[in-house]
Symmetry: D2
Subunit: 362 residues, 4 copies
């Protein structure tokens, strides 16, 4: 019995030693991996899906293989993506063949494995006007590769596409101002324009939000990533920019229905841009107010925020404070303060912020 | 005069407003970019070049375009890289054509623009034994694509290649132990083996350092990256793993001369592995000792480290302390402490640490 | 009208300019502040309160003012703290007067403002055996300042104190082993011992968890902070160590009831230590399992974790994987895998991990 | 022999096991500590000392013990500090006695141990005008505790003090504008004003730099810290704000000489403010230019920066680029570009940037 213990002991020690000489993992070099939850509330009875409908691969001017876009999206907590390689610039790279559907076909099996909804899409890439547009829910992206841009849009419409005007304020195409052209009216009137990127990569176009609200188009935010999300964005600070889609279910069909119904919020950095109704529901689902105590002069409240978006509150003619993301703050509000707050990082129009009423009991 | 001022003022304000509605940059979303200096000393009259001789692209089982490996290396502060796509598995991807030289040819102009030295190379990929090997300084990687591995090595030798045995302790090929096979003796005897990876990706093979020291082979450290460095490694904490090459100049010719002369140090995480002579010079060029004061019992010293590698010092039979990377520490050493220190993160053999003598005046 | 606009414009521009010359805030220097939510589930009908019952101030050998401990706790997301200055070493500092109740009295009004529950306490500080003990819920800490340690405990008991044995494995007091002394049996038998720190500062004492489970004592984790939490702990990676208390309500009275009823979990880094019942409920409240799809060989599941503690799962004789904190993972489990998992970072005894059964439908 | 090996093996394994049950360190919880080097060049034959001349302790309205300010300064890479508790508000805290010299006396032995130069000082704290002033190099701070502020200054002068006007643009004292009052002229004329904080905590007062340049006063930057540096400042991004002093040697006497000779640079975030001569020398000692190659249209240069301050360069009527801290950039400059650059983060006056000429050979 004793001998067996001794032998066991010898085995253990010897093994430790041998392993040391063979192969030692050094895990502290390695960045933690795994999918990070994007912490935003489900609202109004919908699931809030995290979507990026604009990105590129080696099949146009991007530098990654299509399946990587799925892995990246998974790591970043997204639910839905569309690979939108430039349709007219195919093939993008020396020695790369295939056609405008290749990126989608290559990425699809991997998307299924990773539980990511992959939308078949492409980017109609024209000089201004009309500029660049993503067409989603295509059957055959290749069929949009036409000489005349009108024909490309006709084909997209024929396939039932959802069409987004990309980066309307992009300096390369709109150097002096961000302008709505005659061609956009035309597309709009013909049912060939459903959404606008009010945010692209690192640019926010307030006037495009006004267009969305005036013309009942859906506001989007997209990365338009050509390189690597983890190199481009400071993910320690903010989620990658994305379009939040309020869908019945987490299915492609539900995403399509929600998009055509304009149920989107553009989410970029600490900002949200969208319909008052959605932003109000978003904030109310995220913030809890608790009365703490009061003096003759003021009442003190604990404000808790359970989502990734901080809220920069401004009492009308009163103090300003931030309810931090996934955190809390205590505020002292003077007696008779209005319970109406301007939320300075939530936009209902290009130059208008959401106003909310918090339930300040006592 | 006054009117002009007023008009100017109006122009300025109006302009500010207009810009707000058009296109607002949100720079806080974006990660800082630019090349980070890898802070290691030049030693023994040589320039210490930062090199990674093992990485993949879409031309084998990697997921990035060749030019991206150059950008990544530039950002990470490297001087020299080799793209080593698997020779026998070409073409790696659906719709990707080209041959075993394509990745090199595509990346070369970009490497020149970015001031990165790009070595023409490829990975001989065989089951164990002999396993995987990188061949550097090739003329024509395609010519190594042979049925019989002996012929691949013959061709490499004919082209004057520098040959590295990759990940000798890789579990997939050496599941039970890390072993030197008959085939390695054969390659070694025929001048077809010049170096061994003592570190690959996140694995350190101490026994391989013993082989290097016993047989006069050069120790290397490599990332073998298939994905993205910024996603794989925690670059906030450590530089990416690399081989330091002590070269006369920052030229490809100098790198070749230095490699064949075995002037390398494997650098991974906080660890260095290599010849005693090099590690000693490295530490001595990085650490400054300053006497502060003394009591009857002990003397106090300020130890300053000007490089990215911390030094974990252990006085024989005495206290242990760390001289932090790019930092300082104060230590109190008992009277009559030996001035000999074991440096526990610097390896001269698989199970031996560097011993240094610090100049503890007074 | 036009003139007024011009004047307004002038005013705005002039103002901008003037402000530039006066006082420009540079917010990017400043670290984000505000209370961070500690994300752990309420379980078994209780509120899971985040508590640290061990910390020091300038009123013993700490280096901060008592009110700062409240601010720090607030920032770190705690609900309850006790300031436990050493009773026998008072006053701690040159020019600092007061008595053993001073720290509590000074911090109390600030705790009320910050909505932090502050427990009146003190640390009985004796050489081993019996060592150091925190006494909580005191009326008069000063009254425990006795020559003989028996008298100090008697007084504590008289005041109805909850008594915790601190850092039982502290090397300074238990240099060779971590041992339960005769004196501890004595205290235990007289109802003067209710809990043990199984974790203190950065040390985990597995054997102390065995004592807790064997003798029905409550396991605690505490920082014992003398300096600054934000300097000592890497809060980017983990919450500060704490004792989770399962309380009926968020009140001092409820905390007292829960403590005397042993409803605690020690939480340190990625580890939890406590009763099987509590750990099981904790994990089950945090993890959602979703079946994705299956092949003939394996089934694939999405595992989502909604809390700050990662779970390191190990299938018995099967694969190991981690469900990341506030994140998700996908795992492929071979057909007929047991649905029993060992959770390697959750301890029910010093050397035993929690076993859980996940509901792997389909 | 064999038996001894077995016994040894048993001992080793048993020991490992025993230790596991006793006391296991969990180092990954702990933040890395040690002094971080502030990487700035020595210039013009002087040592560039890193100094913070404005901070508080429990002896006024700060919340830490004086010795902590030394530890904090040491960790942050400083060479010199002054503790400047408010003279008139002593004692600051319940139960804290002592006088205006106590903080200095308590911290001094610890400063010597940590190799930090501690300047005996105090803050003259008056309402505007004249406001707050730090007096450095005092013999007896207590003696400045006078009813009439004139007498406090007279006493300071008598003791040979170096006097700094603190936060001249502080909103609480200068709500509408940042203004130089009659009293400041008076102090200036009587040799009782030697320096001005152009930066305090997170505020930069450009107009105060103009006053420094016009009246030959030394510009300072100070933290005015009352709480904790590591909580207040984002030290991952920037060094704490500080005054750089160009001293003959690293001694108190040299610091005094350098201060009275106005050899200071205010350093805050990525900004430097000071005399053209010093900023020019600073940049030139930090930046290396290397010609890479050229085309007919442009020349390409590698710019390397060896210090912690990035340089935001702007070619007159040309491109803008940043040479990152401790990093490199490659820039392509059009043929015939001026070699004069505006450095937009280096201020020689409130609204003027440094202009430098880089040596763009070829």
């Amino acid at each position: 019995m004793k001998t067996r213990l001794l032998l066991l002991a010898l085995f253990i020690s010897a093994n430790v030693f041998a392993q040391d000489l063979n192969n030692i993992k050094i895990p502290e070099l390695i960045k933690e991996s795994g999918r990070k939850t994007v912490n935003v509330p489900d609202i109004l009875g919908y699931k809030t899906l995290k979507c990026d409908f604009h990105m590129h691969t080696v099949f146009s001017d991007g530098i990654v293989w299509p399946s990587f876009r799925v892995d990246e999206a998974w790591n970043n907590g997204l639910d839905v993506i569309a690979i939108t390689d430039h349709i007219e610039r195919h093939p993008g790279k020396t020695h790369v063949g295939g056609d405008d559907n290749s990126a989608y076909k290559i990425a699809l099996p991997h998307a299924r494995e990773k539980n990511i909804i992959l939308i078949h899409a492409g980017e109609i890439t024209r000089s201004m006007s009309p500029g660049h547009f993503n067409a989603l829910f295509l059957e055959d992206t290749q069929a949009l590769d036409k000489q005349d841009w009108h024909e490309a849009f006709d084909e997209a419409k024929k396939q039932g596409a959802y069409i987004i005007w990309n980066h309307p304020g992009w300096e390369a195409q709109q150097p002096d101002t961000t302008k709505w052209w005659e061609e956009h009216t035309q597309l709009y009137n013909e049912g060939m324009l459903h959404a606008i990127e009010v945010f692209n990569e690192q640019e926010w176009y307030p006037i495009a939000l006004d267009w969305c609200m005036d013309k009942d188009l859906a506001p989007h935010a997209a990365t338009d990533i050509h390189g690597i999300i983890a190199e481009r964005y400071d993910l320690e600070k903010y989620n990658r920019p994305m379009t939040l889609v309020l869908a019945e279910e987490r299915t492609e069909e539900s995403v399509r229905e929600a998009l055509f119904a304009n149920r989107t919020i553009a989410y970029f950095g600490k900002h949200l841009a969208g319909k008052e109704e959605y932003l109000k529901a978003f904030l109310e689902a995220s913030v809890e107010v608790q009365f703490l105590n009061k003096t003759k002069k003021e009442s003190r409240y604990l404000l808790k925020n359970t989502c990734d978006v901080p809220f920069q509150m401004q009492v009308k003619r009163g103090p300003a404070f931030t309810i931090p993301a996934n955190g809390e703050t205590i505020v002292a509000l003077p007696k008779n303060t209005s319970s109406k707050f301007l939320v300075k990082n939530l936009y209902t129009k290009g130059t208008e912020n959401l106003t909310v009423t918090l339930d300040l009991k006592k």
